[in-house]
């Protein structure tokens, strides 16, 4: 055989070999009972327990770590490593620990809780709750099962805070650079940027849980591919279901969709300079936007208008009287602008980002509605990193933002409306409304729920008039799964990103 013939044969062989995989017709992956493959929206940049590195990381943290408290599937606060808790006067809380173990087999003790709080509050800490834990006066450990956290200032919401996925209790005997938690799953292997594999922790404190034999989380950054992976059977469950795919998934007899209106979109202002240092102009913006258009255009109808502060209707602190506090009323907007001395209209910049469709679409609809009342907004849509930097430095006039509250407690929205906090892209820049700061502090210090309701009602009334932010829409936050998956639940309201807690009860038939 001559050399030419050999080349030809080799090429033909290579072509045939290349096509071989396509001849394998059966399904891409057969589901294995007891094993769950989870399609993550992104690979967590880090799973350091106390740092905030995003919701994908938070879900992974809920598998490995647990705090003193957490949430039940219905969103109610429940004991986790603590079986009970009670206030000590107004300055402290006592937690009674249950008989739980860390994944290294050691018992969870009050000394571990004390050590955790000290690590978070440490001088060189980069923890999300660093400032809050620096507000701890001292931690008392009268015995192994009792821990008393004494605060410098009263905080009725401490048990809620201790449920945060950024506040897990870690073994004080963790090797340097490692963090041993007491969650239901142990990290078995990870391929950076690709996937993480978990196996059940047999010593988990809830008897009979977790139910899964194996859990693999694979990152699918492309939302369409994430959906395709679910439909083709590559994965059993996905998070961040894109809104445009929700109808199709609902109609698929082999799949189920679990959505809640948890996260929300809103506008923030640069209140340090005209025109948005004037509450009338801010209020004009609030009344200029028809939210139904936003829900339709940006979220394919999967969401609902938000015309007040983002406190969920299911919350006991929800104020129905402010339901239409910022309702669409273009005539009122024009009148308010005229009263503020802008009868001929006003020009401003509108910051958003082209990196995320929901931010971009929201900004475009807002721009049109503002133009209709005489506010000419020029869009500025850089990538997300630049948008964050510009927002933190107040180099904008009006900006689109989207996120979820820290919890379903009204104190969970303090981050977005308390202008006394440090400048941040998530809240209006240079816009300090003293009464709101005072009422937030009062609500935090009040232990009587009835009194807290009165405080937060007044706070919302002030917010409706002073407009520290403009609520736009609740957006549907969805998980989709094969029908064979049971026991997984999308937690209500702001707790949607805590749904990873229910992996402990999840089963795959």
């Amino acid at each position: 055989m001559g050399p030419t013939a050999t080349r030809r044969a080799m090429l033909a062989g290579a072509a045939s070999a290349g096509m071989l995989p396509f001849l394998r017709i059966p399904g891409a992956r057969a589901a294995t009972p007891g094993e769950l493959t989870f399609g993550l929206s992104s690979y967590p940049p880090s799973i350091q327990p106390w740092q905030n590195t995003g919701t994908a990381a938070a879900t992974m943290k809920l598998l490995m770590y647990r705090g003193l408290t957490s949430y039940a599937a219905d969103g109610s606060l429940r004991g986790e490593l603590a079986e009970s808790w009670s206030p000590i006067g107004t300055q402290g809380w006592e937690f009674k620990l249950r008989d739980a173990r860390f994944q290294n087999g050691e018992k969870v003790t009050s000394a571990d809780v004390k050590w955790t709080i000290e690590q978070i509050a440490a001088e060189r800490s980069t923890a999300y709750f660093r400032a809050e834990m620096q507000g701890v006066e001292r931690v008392e450990t009268p015995d192994d099962r009792t821990v008393r956290i004494i605060l410098k200032a009263p905080r009725a919401t401490l048990p809620v805070m201790m449920a945060s996925y950024h506040l897990p209790i870690i073994s004080r005997n963790s090797p340097r650079g490692q963090f041993i938690g007491a969650g239901p799953f142990m990290l078995k292997a990870q391929e950076r940027g690709v996937s993480l594999e978990f196996e059940p922790f047999t010593g988990f404190h809830r008897a009979g849980l977790p139910k899964l034999k194996r859990l693999k989380a694979i990152a699918y950054a492309d939302e369409n591919l994430r959906v395709a992976a679910l439909r083709s059977g590559d994965v059993d469950l996905i998070e961040y279901v894109p809104w445009q795919a929700m109808d199709g998934i609902s109609a698929d007899p082999g799949l189920s969709l679990d959505t809640v209106d948890g996260a929300f979109m809103f506008l923030v202002f640069n209140g340090g300079r005209p025109p948005f240092n004037d509450p009338k102009v801010r209020k004009a913006v609030a009344h200029a936007i028809k939210r139904e258009d936003l829900v339709r255009a940006a979220f394919f109808g999967r969401g609902s208008p938000l015309q007040q502060l983002p406190i969920a209707a299911s919350s006991p602190f929800y104020n129905a009287e402010y339901k239409d506090g910022w309702k669409y009323d273009p005539e009122l907007s024009k009148r308010l602008l005229a009263e503020a001395g802008h009868a001929n209209g006003v020009s401003c910049s509108l910051l958003s980002t082209a990196q995320y469709g929901m931010h971009k679409d929201t900004a475009e609809v807002v721009q049109q509605h503002l133009a209709a009342v005489g506010i000419q907004a020029e869009l500025n849509m850089p990538d997300w990193a630049t948008r964050v930097a510009i927002g933190n430095r107040g180099q904008y006039e009006l900006a689109v933002m989207g996120t979820a509250a820290d919890s379903n407690d009204p104190d969970g929205i303090a981050n977005f409306i308390d202008g006394s906090l440090s400048p941040s892209y998530v809240r209006s820049y240079g816009l300090k409304i003293d009464r709101i700061t005072e009422l937030l502090a009062a609500g935090r210090a009040e232990f009587d729920d009835a009194k807290r309701k009165i405080i937060y009602r007044e706070m919302e009334g002030v917010a409706i008039e002073q407009v520290p932010m403009v609520g736009l829409t609740w957006r549907s936050q969805g998980y989709a799964m094969r029908k064979a998956v049971t026991g997984f639940k999308n937690l209500p309201g702001a707790l949607t990103f805590y749904s990873g807690l229910t992996f402990e009860t999840t089963e795959v038939a």
Binding site: L11, A14, A15, G18, P21, F22, R24, G27, A28, R29, P45, S46, Q48, N52, T53, T55, A57, A58, R124, S125, T126, A127, Y128, R130, A131, R192, G193, V194, I218, A219, Y220, A221, D222, N224, L225, A228, A229, R231, S232, D234, Q355, P382, D383, A385, T386, V388, A389, I390, N392, G402, T403, A404, N415, L421, S422, S424, Y425, V426, R427, F497
Partner: protein, 317 residues
Amino acid sequence: MLAFAARRLVISVGLVWAVASLVFLVIHLIPGDPAELLLSQGGIAPDPAAVEELRERLGLNLPLWQQYVGYLGGLLQGDFGYSLQDDHPIVDEIALRLPRTLELVGMAGLIAVVFGVPLGVAAALRAGGALDRVLSGAAGLALSIPVFVVGTLMVLVLATQLKWVPAGGYVPFARDPGRHMLLLMMPAVTIAVGLGAVVFRVMRSSVLEVLEREHVRAAQARGVAPATIIRRHVLRNALTPVVTVVALHLGSLLGGTVLVEFVFNWPGLSGYLVRSVEARDYPEVMGIVLVISAIFVLLNFCVDLLYAVIDPRVRHG
């Protein structure tokens, strides 16, 4: 020849240094703070003290020139540094991801050549005929369809509708060779659609041009069998421009498979670069761009040497 090679080597090293410096400067000039970003994930306001502490820990508070000197010093020792996000060694990550992108690009090139070359020859031999018109039309269509459309359609039809293949992802060859090849084929074919069309077109025009040459006409006049003429006199000469075009395209695909890697969840170098830029992970961005540019420079250096071997006038040019 040695002097020529030494001169080219110095220029190549200078180019790599220039790229390294330029990337360092550009990435530090664009807005966005890695520490702020890392602690602001999920639309949450970080504690400014924590951000400042992280900046200090990551060395971002040092004067820019000190960071530059440290960066160059590290490079000289083969140390690309560590990811700002999770302290992972960047060299390890590049060593893991570069072969995946090379494999993807290589397979795409192979498919493009396997289909593009014979079809290009066939079209040229029947220039103006029905086959030529059909193939040329198909090549035009393949060139005009964006790569993400081809990829998305393949996922929709083959994975979602027919469920013949996984929607995307990656499994190491050593763990499961069959599944690895299965996952490789869709992104490779997606890239090969456009690249194959280029190969087809170049091959077709190259064959047409060679067919007009005198030595081919002379062979025909001597009564040499047509198949022999094609194999011995046309193909060999016509392949040279195809090799050049394929090599150039494969080089540019090293950093340009972003969309395909994204659509098929292929964890290669391009997707890594995009995520690093998004996170403003300075050491990662600098390391990846440096490696890609070094490969380019190395390829050019080799081509320069080859030219000098083939044509001695180049050495004295």
